[in-house]
């Protein structure tokens, strides 16, 4: 779409010097913020991954004016979004609509993560059972070290040295 961007830029420039035809079509009392509130939740139908409120092409400018027009006609947010979907396809939405094939986008990741969690949990249990309760070396955060204030610092250091040794 680069070709279009550059070309539309000339239009933007031209429009600097010409009377804006769109503004003449009404919707004058709708503020930019109200338009952007909806535009920011829509994506430009011809560019790639550009939200409509920050898209610089002439086409996007027209779409924002369209939102302004619809708002001035009393349309709700949802109606305007639906209008955009009907006209320009589902890709204008920031997320796939929650229906049909698109449901997969919402259900597959949690399912995989859940499976991963189950596998991890089972592995934990297996490891624990394998080793039983044979030994129990008390380490760093053992009750003694935190409760007995007599010499906890040295214990921390001892632990630290122990760790360094293990690495070699």
């Amino acid at each position: 779409m680069k070709k279009l961007n550059i070309l539309t830029l000339f239009i933007i420039l031209l429009s600097l010097f010409s009377v804006n035809t769109v503004a003449a079509q009404g919707g004058g009392d709708i503020s930019d913020d109200e338009v952007n509130a909806i535009a920011s939740e829509l994506f430009c139908p011809v560019c790639e991954n550009t939200p409509l409120d920050v898209c610089e092409t002439q086409a996007c400018k027209q779409w924002r004016e369209l939102i302004r027009l619809k708002l001035s006609e009393g349309w709700t947010d949802a109606e305007i979004k639906q209008y955009f979907v009907d006209n320009y396809g589902a890709r204008v939405l920031a997320e796939p609509p929650k229906e049909g094939f698109n449901l997969l986008v919402y259900f597959v990741p949690p399912a995989i993560i859940l499976i991963g969690a189950v596998i991890l949990f089972r592995a934990f249990k297996e490891w624990k059972n394998d080793n039983g309760e044979k030994d129990a070396p008390i380490t760093e955060a053992s009750p003694k070290s935190t409760r007995e204030t007599s010499n906890p610092k040295d214990d921390y250091l001892a632990k630290f040295e122990e760790e360094l040794r293990k690495r070699e």
Binding site: L4, L7, Q62, E65, L66, V85, D86, Y88, G89, A90
Partner: protein
């Protein structure tokens, strides 16, 4: 990473459980297939000369004030037996303006015989702007919005303007990417199709 060391022959080794292996391989293969298809699609480009358009039939609503044989919609399959000129355009497209007059001129030349149908397909456009555009260039052939970009996706257009010429059987016979240079250019393509 060399061929001789790929141990394809050892699936039954004790190690990894078979079901894990099968899952991993099928996920891997599925992923590669999807990516391959995506790659193919990305490199495919627009519909080429010689392709059948029967498989992507569409019925397009027309803008207010535009009619095809009295109806406010037009269906591609109903046009079998006629030469069809499908022109994709948009009001925000600069180069579309370079060919608007030429297309309309050609349309007015062929319209009386009823052998050729021009259809303007308005690609992702806003209706008010589209109507201003149609009025400015006094375009009279049927024009309508490409609802949900279904038609342009079927033709896999790469941009606007693009024009597809379909013969009487609905087969794409000529594709014009970008604007036409002259009315004569449009007419020569249509004349060739009419002569078939």
């Amino acid at each position: 990473m060399t061929e001789e060391n790929t141990p394809e022959n050892s699936p039954q080794k004790r190690g990894m459980p078979l079901w894990v292996q099968i899952t991993v391989w099928s996920v891997l293969v599925a992923l590669l297939v999807v990516v391959f298809m995506g790659l193919q699609r990305a490199q495919e480009g627009n519909v080429q000369t010689g392709e059948e358009t029967g498989k992507f039939d569409f019925t397009m609503p027309l803008f207010e004030g535009y009619y095809h044989e009295g109806a406010q919609e037009i269906s591609l399959t109903d046009l079998r037996g006629k030469i069809v000129v499908l022109n994709f355009w948009a009001s925000w497209c600069v180069t579309c303006k370079d060919e608007a007059v030429e297309l309309e001129e050609a349309w007015r030349y062929y319209q009386p015989d009823g052998e050729v149908v021009f259809i303007g397909i308005d690609y992702v456009d806003t209706e008010p702007e589209a109507r201003v555009y149609l009025k400015r260039y006094d375009i009279t052939y049927p024009n309508g919005p490409d609802m949900g970009t279904k038609i342009s996706q079927a033709f896999r257009i790469q941009g606007v303007p693009e024009t597809y010429f379909l013969d009487r059987d609905g087969v794409v016979k000529h594709v014009q990417l970008g604007p036409f240079q002259s009315t004569a250019q449009i007419m020569s393509i249509i004349d060739a199709l009419l002569a078939e």
